[in-house]
Amino acid sequence: MNITAWEKVKLARMAGRPTGLDYIELLFHDFFELHGDRFFAEDRAIVGGIAFFGELPVTVIAQQKGRNTKENIARNFSMPHPEGYRKALRLMKQAEKFHRPVICFVDTPGAFCGLGAEERGQGEAIATNLAEMMMLKTPIISVVISEGGSGGALALGVADKVYMLEHAVYSILSPEGFASILYKDSSKAEQAANDMKLTAQDLVQFGIIDGVIPEPRGGAHNNCRQMARNIKKTLEHDLKLLQQLSVDELLEKRYQKFRNM
């Protein structure tokens, strides 16, 4: 399907596009959700827990958009606070302890900008995740399922393998924000989306991501089951490869991958 960058942005944000929980339901079984960062609060913008992927226990972490207005408010439109990132890190450390691979689903316009987020160290929370994920002694696979916005997305995106769904976008900032900073006009978002090179196709060409997972005709929402099967195939393939590596090899490869960007 040949659509423009701006159309992809709109598709990625479209109501009805499958969310992290939709994929968790289809890809895993016995999902057991774990709550809270143990310091301050439970952040519902990030869902996390343990589940079986086939026979294999894994830790799953997903930035979660609401599937209706009410849920969106509860989930803060998938814009995490620091405690969301700290919960994610807690679950990753737990995965390391129990030798479980970590699967992350990235879907956020960005980390939340607000008083509480600043008071509780949004910057520190993201920074710590970047450094800790780089050293985590268990495989990590990250899939950008819709919107990957800024540092708030990267905080779940430091992984051995990073994928994007065919029509997902991943960028430094929203096209609107980008346009208002660089063109002093937020209505030029369409042009920004094009100039920013934020599509999965651009990013795989840059070597920023490892691959693009094809979507069903018309987009993931048209056939969520098929989409899940496509993701499953990729996860199965990579988990097998990653689990064969020693911890040292795994970490060295992960380091070199980001080192060369």
Binding site: C113, L115, L154, I208, F258
Partner: protein, 350 residues
């Protein structure tokens, strides 16, 4: 294929420049953050200060203590013994990885105006006799925004420091990620954080000094990863910029929000250190981290430092040497930047 965001010929060189405290503010009249004329108005208290006095006072207002922004050069002059820095990767620059319209022109203009190649200067120096790797971001260059050049220079500095067993000190000053380099700028956050993590794993000390302003992707990566985090008084430090927050929440921010004092209050900075105490404070922290093993490392370092000093070109020679740097590059084209680090500077100086 992976694209290499760096210009082939722009790999590591070394030069020595001295910026002594008395030189602060000279040769840089065109820079917007450098006060011009005999008197300078303090943006905080509004008083007019003799510019000479302001410069002698480390660019702090003698009335209210307001810390003016300082350039990278000025920082080295204030901080390092004899103002002496052995600069690394002096010519490392970006190649407009997104092919963003107008970026190269703007870059060239900013380079000409500031005399900088990009928004950070990195190198090795001594503070109260103790060697350290020091990186200083310059707020005058694209508002200190971080793109691939800054990410690469910082990463190389941390890798070098890990290899040589040296502590790292980074002065942050940044409006965030460099928009014109898009996703590549974002990835620098991961890249630098990775190098910081490795340096940390080697048991080495990392100190960040947060200066006005430190925001966005820099805050959300290496700025907040220091073993010890210091901040200059009154510096704006945060993840989101104040205007973005005000737009999001639809109200004015309280007085002092996201200032250094606010960070200390909320537990995200170890101490606020006025500029005139910074050198001494950093010296003390460095001393406190010389354990038995560390000391041995340091003595070895001392030797290599002296060797390097002897080999380095004298001031003035640095310029001509730099112009010839193209000749010295050893087929860097498809080589990863890592391969170039380490020996390159010493070798090339000979």
């Amino acid at each position: 294929m992976k694209m290499n965001p760096f210009k082939a010929k722009q790999y590591a060189t070394s030069k020595v420049y001295h910026t002594r405290p008395q030189e602060i503010g000279q040769q840089e009249e065109e820079r917007p953050n450098i006060p011009e004329g005999i008197m300078t108005k303090c943006p905080k208290c509004g008083k007019a200060i003799y510019t000479k006095l302001l410069l002698a006072n480390l660019k702090c207002c003698n009335e209210c203590g307001h810390h003016f922004k300082a350039s990278a050069k000025e920082r080295f002059g204030m901080l390092l013994d004899d103002g002496e820095l052995f600069e690394y990767d002096a010519t490392c620059t970006t190649v407009n990885p997104l092919n963003f319209p107008g970026y190269e022109e703007k870059l060239a203009k900013t380079q000409a105006k500031t005399g900088l190649v990009d928004g950070i200067v990195t190198g090795k120096g001594k503070i109260e006799g103790q060697p350290a790797m020091v990186g200083v971001m310059d707020p005058a260059f694209f508002m200190g925004s971080m793109g691939t050049a800054i990410g690469e220079k910082l990463t190389r500095m941390f890798e070098r420091a890990t290899k040589e067993g040296l502590p790292v000190i980074v002065f942050t000053a940044s409006g965030g990620a460099r928009m014109q380099e898009g996703i590549f700028s974002l990835m620098q956050m991961a890249k630098v954080s990775a190098a910081v993590a490795k340096h940390s794993e080697a048991g080495l000390l990392y100190i960040t000094v947060l200066t006005d302003p430190t925001t966005g992707g820099v805050t959300a990566s290496f700025a907040m990863l220091g073993d010890i985090i210091l901040a200059e008084p009154g510096a704006l430090i945060g993840f989101a910029g104040p205007r973005v927050i005000e737009q999001t929440i639809g109200q004015k921010l309280p007085e002092g929000f996201q200032r250094a004092e606010f960070l200390l209050e909320h537990g995200f900075a170890d101490q606020i250190v006025p500029r005139d105490q910074l050198k001494q404070t950093l010296g003390t922290i460095l001393k406190l981290h010389q354990t038995a093993g560390g000391k041995k490392l340091q003595e070895e370092e001392e030797k290599s430092f002296q060797k390097e000093e002897a080999k380095s070109p004298k001031r003035g020679e640095a310029e001509s040497f730099q112009m010839e740097e193209g000749k010295y590059s050893e087929k860097p084209k498809e080589k990863s930047s890592r391969d170039m680090e380490g020996k390159s500077s010493e070798k090339k100086v000979n």
